[in-house]
Each structure stands twice: as C-alpha cells, then as structure tokens.
C-alpha cells in the first residue's frame, strides 16, 4: 500500500524513509552518494501554515533552509536534487534569500552556505517545467533513517530563508531560536 507523497520530485531516489515526529511528517530522500558523500539522507518537511505552504530542509548538519515561497503543483511543492548542494532544492516562486545566524560560522559552514546561495542565484535563471515532477509513493518505507541521520532542527546554527520575508518567516525563526535555547 503506497504511502502519500508530501512533495513531487524531479529525480527518484533509491528510497524514501518516512518519519512521524511530534505530529510532523518528514520524508528522507535516500541516495547512495551525493558526489563524494556516502549514505545521503535528505530530509524534507512540509509545513502548513496560515498563508500557504512552507518547506523545511537542512544543509549539512547545522544549517536549516526554510523555503517560504514554494511553487505548488496539485497541492504539493516541487523538489529537485542537485549534486553538491547538500540540500534538496525547492522550486520557488521567489528566489530572494536571507541568512539568519546566531554565531559566526566555521569555514566548512561558510563554504557550504556560499555554494547554496550561489546555486540559488543560478536557479532564478532556469524555468523548471512542471511536467518533470513526479510522485514517489512506491519508494516510501515506513521507518525512520538510522538515528545519526535524523533531522533535529534544534541543531541549527543558521537558517536560510528562501522566498519572501514575511511574518511566517519571522515566526519560523522565532521557533528555531526557542528550540535551540
């Protein structure tokens, strides 16, 4: 019995682990490799908030990305995966970005962020036709990923907001500041 997708994807991973945690559904898109990195679990959490959908992903271990203006097809945000970016890319109606940080980033975090922001700039130029986005229900397995790969937003040191800056974005940042505290 296939489970329900929370997004539509441009590329199919090996499998998708589903985790339900504190009422949140997280889908982990698993790839054997992301370029050089083995065992790549990319978590995606869709948030239904007043005013529309938001999508939450992570960059490496300490970065959170809130996609605040996702493009939606059949009620689902559109996701693509690009080698080396280290976070799923959510196709957005607006590619503006903001970085919110509680402390100085180390060099690895800074370079990962630099790559992501550069990539976001590139995304503005590509139209992303809707027909390439498909479902993935047949790939969902009802078990969480290994514990070391679980998505825990309280480990966030910085947040990237992609899309419009609005009250919803601010509310999310406040949530993160409280969780990290």
């Amino acid at each position: 019995m296939p489970r329900e997708e929370i997004v539509l994807v441009s590329d199919k991973p090996v499998r998708v682990h589903e985790e339900v945690k504190d009422g949140r559904i997280i889908h982990y898109f698993y790839w054997h490799f992301d370029l050089y990195k083995p065992y790549d679990y990319e978590p995606v959490n869709v948030r239904e908030v007043e005013g529309g959908l938001q999508v939450l992903t992570r960059v490496h271990w300490t970065g959170l990305v809130l996609w605040n203006s996702p493009r939606v097809l059949e009620g689902k945000p559109l996701v693509t995966f690009v080698g080396g970016v280290h976070t799923p890319i959510i196709i957005s109606e607006n590619w503006d970005y903001y970085v919110v940080s509680r402390e100085e980033l180390d060099i690895a975090e800074k370079l990962a962020l630099k790559f992501l922001l550069t990539f976001i700039e590139l995304m503005k130029l590509y139209p992303w036709p809707e027909e390439i986005f498909k479902d993935y229900g047949d790939l969902i397995v009802e078990e969480p990923p290994p514990p070391e790969y679980e998505f825990d937003p309280s480990h966030g040191k910085y947040v990237v907001i992609v899309g419009v800056w609005d009250e919803r974005a601010e509310n999310f940042v406040e949530e993160v500041t409280e969780e990290v505290e």
Binding site: Y98, V99, V100, R102, I107, A108, L113, T118, V173
Partner: protein
Amino acid sequence: MGNSSTYTSVASYSPIRDIIVVGGEASLEGLYASTIIPPVHTGRSLGADKLSVEPEEYVGFIFLTRRALLERWEGVVSRLAEFSRVRAPTSLSALKLSNYIASLAQHIDDEEVREGALAVRNLLREAAVSVQAGRAESPRQLINRALHVSLLVLELLKLQERGVRLVKVGDLEEVGEIKGWKIYAPRRDRTRQRQARKGARGG
C-alpha cells in the same frame, strides 16, 4: 598594450598549455620551484579572460587558468583522500602537501574560497605536528576535516571554472535581529533590507 608581444611569445613557448607565463625573465623550471608571487596581491583576477594585462608589470608571474587550478586542486583532494582512507601521512608528507596548498591558494581569486584552501593547509600542518608527537587518533580527525573542507573548495572551484560568479557570504549585510540571531541579506537589495528591518521583532 605596451609590451604585450613579450607575453604572446613566452606563452607560445610554454610546453604546458594551461599555464601562462607573463614576461620572459624566468624559466618555467625556475618559476615552478620559486615562490609564486600571487597575482591576487595586485588585484588581478586569474581567469583566462584577464590576460590582457601590461606584461612589464608582471614579469615572472605565473597565471593559472581556472581549469589548471581546478585540476591541481583535484590532485590535492586525491592526496587527502589517500591520507584519510589508504595510508596515513608521515609528518613530512603532510608538510609537503601543506606547502603545495599554500602556493596553490595564492591563485584562488575568491577570498572565501582561498580562506577555505588555507584552512586545509592549516589542518594539514596541525596533522603533521600531531603525527610527529605520535598521537594516534587526532591526525586522522584533522585529515578527515581537511578532506571535508577541500571537497567544499573543489565544488566552488568547479563552479568558477564553469564561469559561475560566486556569491560572497561576507558581503551579506546585517539588516535586523530576532532574539539575538542576526539577519543578513544581499547588499544590493535595499527594499528587501527595509522589509526585514521593519519586520524583525525582538532583538
């Protein structure tokens, strides 16, 4: 163009396609062995598109094309991967690689990517000291961290080699604060900055 013919003739002598020597005073062998004076100090970019410089200002300097720089950095990553997964480095081999990285870093024209390359060099130097001191676990951790950072540098150099302009994280401007977390936005967009400033609560 002043003495541009010097550059042309020397470049055509070069047996190595991806290195361009500006000026004709030093032999290639000598330039390889010597400390390379970094064009970044002169404010010049290293891309092949930036070769229309006045050669007399740069006699003896070496410019690497982005392709050449990328290939050399791939070599660094391979060596680090070997240190990490196949054979742990000796103190000397770690130091040699760190010196090579130091000379290569001078050819990286993006300040943040260069900072990454120098962080790799520093980690290798620490690993060399650690090996010499006979510590078992710490060199491996340092090498793994160096490998991780070197791979991030590699990805950014690949983008540059394809002609992509990299975003500068350091150029983001602080535009607000929420509960002690600072908000940054690209400098160019004043409207967005005003929105964030106006909207940001707490602080």
